[in-house]
Symmetry: C2
Subunit: 468 residues, 2 copies
């Protein structure tokens, strides 16, 4: 990494104990957004974060929504300077796993490692950006730096858009940096520049009013579960995963050869992937093929089938109804609305009695991989970690990104600091000083680049998604 | 009905109040075998039944098993006389339905109707046979009459065979009469002479150790629910119900034209069937086709699919495992063991990772529709109810019949007294004096016929099932 900046290096070194103190304070608030029993803790986290921002000299406040608030704050330096917003979230996953070796909400420092729920997802990265921002402000960069810290990310950002709509409290930025993603391997920084979208649906079929005896009715009565299995089968090839809905692939933009080369350079290993997710076997063990499938190809998943008997053993009923829970991950340029129409049409062709109930959707997101922002970020990561990052994609969907993109229509870039071994959503989660210090360095460089770029009038409106 | 037997008619008339008293006593014991909270009531029912038999002058005792006992008793008249055993059960279904208009275990007499859980299934018919037997014994018929009253029928007769094996307490009979079936319509007595068999199985597939995030793994990870839907689809045509397992239909004996004529003469109505089971639509509305399917054709049902998310909404997980719960109703001459082999082979062809776990089996049963016993029974029903009965089949399977057939290898005949409107397994269940009095008349005639037949040496061993 680029250590020829002794003033920055000295700032980073001298900040470490304060960083660790603040991370400990944040981790010890069990801000589990999915658990109503922790509602007070989630709000306490918001208040603590507001206080931390103020203590750093920023203005800050909680922005109320129908759910949990978001924390919004930062430094306003000048009207003619560009503004960047750093997005993180301060709510955390539950920590019920029996594998925890210590209390997940008591912060543990083990040499360079910081252990506890939320250290890497996403409190450690949030704090990293804050330390970098303070340095940039002290350096008097011509840049307004803002923070937007969500408290509902782990539950799918149901009310985030309400915070975004309060423009006086959450002003639009010229660009956004999202710091909530994971590198593919420690040895190679990874910048995701795409997220899959999502379309969830429930396929329901009712053929009776009550489960009936299969001896008395079987053969004459329709079996809604068998019919829903037929529909499932008509939507997806269970072996290959290929989606059979006519027109489903029409708008898919395949990854370019350059993108595939970057994917392969990411350090991704098939066996490590299998181990990480405890998968016994995969649809393919070919590295390039697997990467294409999990990052850049759409899917159709069966998540569950309700109806009939789901207790132990077999109960010989003909079920009255069933509900097949499905979702599709979508890639550029698939549009959830269009895909929903295709799904409805196909299901109707197969079985006109099956109702398709839409259960939520997120547009696929194609981030910037070229242009001044992407290039600035690449240089900054290289400066921060001493390695050229690879451009990858994320197979998941981040609800907040979709909202930010629609509301602000500003360039959104991703700079995550988490490593696969950190245990995202897993027991014994940790973050480490290597990623934190490299992160501060990276963010400072990126802030410098942004201040030098000035307000990119050409980038105020980014090109339409469909043109990418 | 044949009322030119004034002595019998006077016995029936004079028995009515005792019949009602005893039925009330029996109904008011909530002998719900499926509910462990009623274990004491089930045993109390056995003790009460034993007492009733003794009060009628029969010898009687409870025959213990690993579960609930069976009640065995009767009259021994002479060594050279034939013996008939009447099978009934005295355990009942739960009665939790909110539609009950009075307490299900308080006996209600409404003119000719006797209302309460267990009145028609199967306490009323059991008592009917007992009143007929007392008359036959008083008539000094050359016939030994025995009763075998089970207390585990509603839970699938798991320990019944243990009672049958105690030959000193439950001696083999020359023939058996089972009184636990329903006519198809009130206006036409129905004698079932076939039961479908059953093969239950769980098809399990595990592809991971824990449900994983479909964004992070979807496309690469296998989806066990999609694969099990594929297997389901390869086993059964969801629309027609046709079973796709190769060889499945090879041994099926189709109903004869004569049988089909009898089916059609049973009074079966498609709309009444739909109403009775609250089915919105059927696989066919053709009467003959429907009867063939529910009585004389095998099936493949999906009863449930576990795995993944079955709570409200959609949760975007790739499930780690799934279990498809299936069963097949079988008809003569399909053998459950052979069908299980065919199923295993077919599933292995479709998906070698799917495990097939057998969950229980019952042979299909083809009863007697010709020969001296069947003819005697036909004449008796005509004498009892004044109408020629039709020979039908039952689509269900009665576990006890399979055990009786294997253990005794004696002719088994069916003479049920329940009507569709009685509400078998339904709220506001009732029995009525018309069926009880006609039943006493029928049984007395049948006992007379049996005593005249003597011991049918030719029928001691009935022909092998496979020859039928």
């Amino acid at each position: 990494m680029q250590k020829h900046d002794p003033h920055l290096e000295s700032y980073i070194k001298s900040s470490r104990s304060q960083y660790e103190d603040l991370l400990a304070q944040m981790v010890e608030i069990p801000s589990i957004s999915s658990d109503p029993a922790h509602a007070a803790d989630v709000r306490k986290m918001g208040a603590a974060a507001t206080r931390i921002l103020k203590n750093f000299g920023a203005e800050a406040r909680m922005v109320e929504t129908s759910g949990y608030p978001a924390v919004s704050g930062g430094w306003f330096v000048g009207n003619h300077y560009p503004t960047v917003t750093i997005y993180n979230h301060l709510d955390v996953q539950p920590a019920d796993e029996p594998e925890w070796r210590h209390s997940p909400f008591s912060f543990q420092k083990e040499a360079d490692r910081y252990r506890g729920r939320g250290t890497t997802d996403d409190k450690g990265p949030a704090l990293t950006a804050l330390f970098a921002a303070r340095y940039a402000i002290e350096e008097k960069l011509h840049l307004n730096i803002r923070f937007l810290w969500e408290l509902e990310e782990e539950i799918g950002s149901p009310n985030f858009v309400e915070a975004l709509r309060q423009q006086a409290l959450v002003p639009r930025s010229d660009s956004v940096l999202v710091s909530d993603t994971i590198w593919v391997a420690k040895q190679r920084p990874a910048i995701p520049c795409g997220l899959r979208g999502l379309l969830s649906a429930r396929l329901t079929l009712q053929t009776g009013s009550t489960d009936v005896h299969s001896g008395l009715t079987g053969g004459g009565a329709r079996n809604p579960l068998a019919e829903l299995c037929e529909v499932a089968n008509a939507c997806v090839d269970a072996q290959s995963g290929d989606v059979k809905i006519p027109g489903f692939y029409d708008k898919v933009v395949k990854p370019t050869q350059d993108e595939l080369k970057e994917f392969l350079a990411s350090g991704f290993q098939v066996n490590r992937f299998k181990q990480a997710y405890q998968l016994r076997s995969l649809r393919t063990d070919n590295r390039a093929e697997l990467l294409k499938r999990i990052w850049a190809a759409p899917t159709f998943e069966i998540h569950g089938l309700t109806g009939g008997h789901t207790g132990p053993g077999v109960k010989t009923v003909v079920p009255a109804s069933g509900e097949l829970k499905v979702s599709m991950r979508l890639v550029p340029n698939q549009r959830p609305d269009k895909i929903l129409t295709l799904l409805r049409r196909h299901v109707k062709d197969i079985n006109p009695n099956v109702r398709v109930v839409s259960d939520g959707k997120l547009e696929p997101f194609r981030g910037l991989s070229t242009g001044p922002y992407a290039e600035a970020l690449l240089r900054s990561v290289q400066a921060g970690f001493g390695k050229v990052p690879v451009m990858v994609r994320e197979g998941g969907s981040i609800g907040a990104i979709d909202h930010l993109d629609r509301t602000w229509n500003a360039p959104i870039l991703f700079m995550g600091l988490s490593l696969p071994e950190h245990g995202y959503h897993a027991p014994n989660e940790y973050f480490d000083w290597g990623q934190a210090s490299g992160g501060i360095r990276t963010f400072v460089h990126y802030f410098r680049e942004l201040s030098q770029m000035g307000r990119q009038s050409a980038m105020k409106k980014k090109p339409k998604r469909s043109a990418r």
